[in-house]
Symmetry: C2
Subunit: 332 residues, 2 copies
C-alpha cells in the first residue's frame, strides 16, 4: 500500500490515488503524533476526513520511527522514552499510548506497538525483544476497549527461525484479525529476508491477512506473495520517483540519464498511467533537471501505477493459478 507519512502520499492527491486504484494507504503514527498531533486530527474528525481519504487506512504503531529516528530512545518494560526529531522535546509511548493515539487517528487497521529488533542482533537480545513484543501485544489488545478498528499483531524474532516460530505462536495465541511480519527489510540480505518469510508465513493463519512490513522491490513483492504474504507497504515507489528512478517491466531506469534528453517516447510504451499517456521522457527529464515540483508529481504517478499493476497481476496469477505475467494487469 502507498505510504503517507505526513497525512498525504507524497506529491499525490486523492484523485491520483484513485486513478491507479489504490485501495488502502498507510499513515505514520510517529509523525502524525508529533505534527500536527493526534488530538488535533481527532478534533477535526479523524485522519480519513483530515486528509480527504474516504477509503481504507492503516496506521503503524509508531514503534519503527521511534527507534529508527532516535538513537537514544530508552526502552523499559513500561514503554519507550524518546526525543522528537523535530524539536528535541521528550516523549513517552507505551503500548496503551500507541493504541490511544491510533484510536484518535481512527484508521481502519491499526498495529500493535512492538520493539523492532535491529539487524544484526544476537540471539539473547532478539529473545528479549521478542518477549517484550508479546507482552506489549497483550497490553495493546487489552487497551483496545470497545474499538471496532482491526488491530494486527506483529511477529518479531529477528533472523532466528526458532525465535520467529515462538513469536508467531505467542502472537497467534493472543488472537488478532490479522498478522504482520515485522523486523525484516532492515538491512539484511534479500535471501535472508526470503528465508525468514518462507519460514514464518505458513505459520500464520491462512484465513487472516498476512502483512509483510516495509517490503519492498517488485521482485520482493512477487517472491513474498508466492510465499503466502497478502499485504505490503513501502516508500520505494514514491521515494524512488522523487529521485528520478522509475520502475518499468524490464527493471529500473533513471530519467536523469543523458540518454533520455531527446527521447520522445513515454517512460514505458504500453503503460496506461496519466504520465505515460501525456508526457515524453525528454520532458520529464527536463522537469526533474530543472527541479520542478511537477516532476515529483508525474514520476510518482508512474511508479505508483506500476506497483499497483504489478500487485494486480500477482493477484490474477493467484486467482487463476497461472504463472505471473505483468501484462495481465490490464486485461480481464
Amino acid at each position: 500500500m502507498p505510504v503517507g507519512t505526513q497525512a498525504t502520499v507524497k506529491a499525490l492527491t486523492r484523485e491520483d490515488l484513485e486513478s491507479f486504484g489504490a485501495q488502502i494507504i498507510l499513515g505514520n503514527t510517529y509523525h502524525l503524533y508529533l505534527r500536527p498531533g493526534h488530538e488535533l486530527i481527532q478534533s477535526l474528525g479523524g485522519l480519513h476526513k483530515f486528509m480527504n481519504w474516504p477509503y481504507p487506512l492503516l496506521t503503524d504503531s509508531g514503534g519503527y520511527q521511534v527507534f529508527s529516528l532516535n538513537q537514544l530512545a530508552k526502552v523499559t518494560e513500561e514503554g519507550v522514552t524518546f526525543q522528537s526529531h523535530l524539536d528535541g522535546s521528550s516523549h513517552f509511548i507505551s503500548p496503551e499510548r500507541s493504541i490511544e493515539i491510533q484510536q484518535a487517528l481512527g484508521a481502519d487497521i491499526i498495529m500493535a506497538f512492538d520493539e523492532p529488533t535491529p539487524y544484526p542482533s544476537d540471539i539473547s537480545k532478539t529473545e528479549k525483544s521478542l518477549k517484550l513484543t508479546t507482552l506489549w501485544a497483550k497490553r495493546c489488545k487489552k487497551a483496545m476497549g470497545s474499538s471496532t478498528q482491526a488491530l494486527f499483531g506483529i511477529v518479531q524474532g529477528g533472523m532466528y527461525p526458532d525465535l520467529r516460530k515462538i513469536s508467531a505462536e505467542q502472537i497467534i495465541e493472543i488472537d488478532f484479525p490479522g498478522y504482520a511480519i515485522g523486523g525484516l527489510s532492515v538491512g539484511e540480505e534479500n535471501n535472508l529476508m526470503y528465508d525468514i518469510t518462507e519460514h514464518i508465513a505458513p505459520l500464520l493463519p491462512a484465513d487472516k491477512p498476512r502483512y509483510l512490513m516495509g517490503v519492498g522491490t517488485p521482485e520482493d513483492l512477487l517472491k513474498c506473495s508466492s510465499l503466502g504474504v497478502d499485504m505490503f507497504d513501502c516508500v520505494m515507489p514514491t521515494r524512488h520517483a522523487r529521485n528520478g528512478s522509475l520502475f518499468v517491466k524490464e527493471g529500473k531506469i533513471n530519467i536523469k540519464n543523458a540518454k533520455y534528453k531527446s527521447d520522445p517516447g513515454p517512460i514505458e510504451p504500453d503503460c496506461s498511467c496519466y504520465t505515460c499517456l501525456n508526457y515524453s521522457r525528454a520532458y520529464l527529464r527536463h522537469l526533474i533537471m530543472a527541479g520542478e515540483i511537477l516532476a515529483m508529481h508525474l514520476l510518482t504517478i508512474h511508479n505508483s501505477t506500476f506497483y499497483q499493476q504489478w500487485m494486480a497481476s500477482i493477484r490474477k496469477a493467484i486467482e487463476r493459478d497461472i504463472p505471473f505475467n505483468m501484462d495481465w494487469a490490464d486485461s480481464n
Copy 2:
C-alpha cells in the same frame, strides 16, 4: 496569464490549468533556451507538444531574464552577451536570435527583444535604452520572415512620460498585432506604475491587445484594467502560494499562521476551487509546515483560481458596464 518558466506552470498539470479556465500561459525564452534548449524542444514538436499544452501560449523575448539574472550582461547595438546563471557559459542574443529561438519554441504570441530600462535610470540612459528598443523592434519584425506567430512590440521609456510617448509612437509606427508596456513593476512605487500606465495605455491602439508585463497584485489588475490594459502576466499567484500566502476576497492570509492550526474551514468559504472544496485550512497548514509537495500543488490551485475569477469578474464588469464585484465571477 499563469507563468510557466520551465515549460510548466509550477506545481500544476494541464488539467489543473483547465480546471480554473486558464486560456493562455507564458513560457520564459531565457530559461528554455538555456535548458533544455530551443532546438531540443523544436525537434520534439515545439513547446505546445513538449509540455502538453494545446491552448494559446506566449513566450517572452528573453530580454528581461538576460538582464535581471546577469549583472555583467554586456549590451552593444548588435545584441547582448551574457553568462548563463546555470553554468557560467557565455551566450549572445540579438533581436534576430531571440526571434529565431521563439520561432523554434513555436508559441502563438512572441515578444520583441527589448532592453528593459532598470529603475531608477536617468533620462539620458532611459532615452538611449528607448532608442535601442525601437531599433531592435524593427529588426525583430524583419526577422519574422513568413512566420504566422503574432509578434508584439514593447514600449519602453522608463518613468518619463515624454519618453514613453515617443517610444509608443515609434513602436506603433512599426505596426504590430499587439503592444506591451515593458519596464514597469521593476521596483517603482505603485502609484508611479499606475501613472505611467494611465499615460501610455490610451496611446496604444484600442483595437489591438494591450499587455502590461509583469503585473501584478489583484488590485493592480483591477486598476490597470480600468486604465485600458487587456493582458497581464505575473508569477505572484503561484510564487505566493508556494510560500503559503493566499489570496482571498478580503486580501491575503498566510496559511502558516498559528491561528489556522485547527481551523476546519476552507481557505475561502465560497471559493469553488478543488482545494477549497476538499481541504481545511488546518490540513493545508499541516502540509506546508511539514514541507509536503502536495501543499505547493493545492495552494497554487487556489491562488491561480482566485486570479482567474478575479479577471473574469473584471471582464464581466467591462462587458456589462457595471461596477466590479468579485462575486460575479461564478454567475452567468
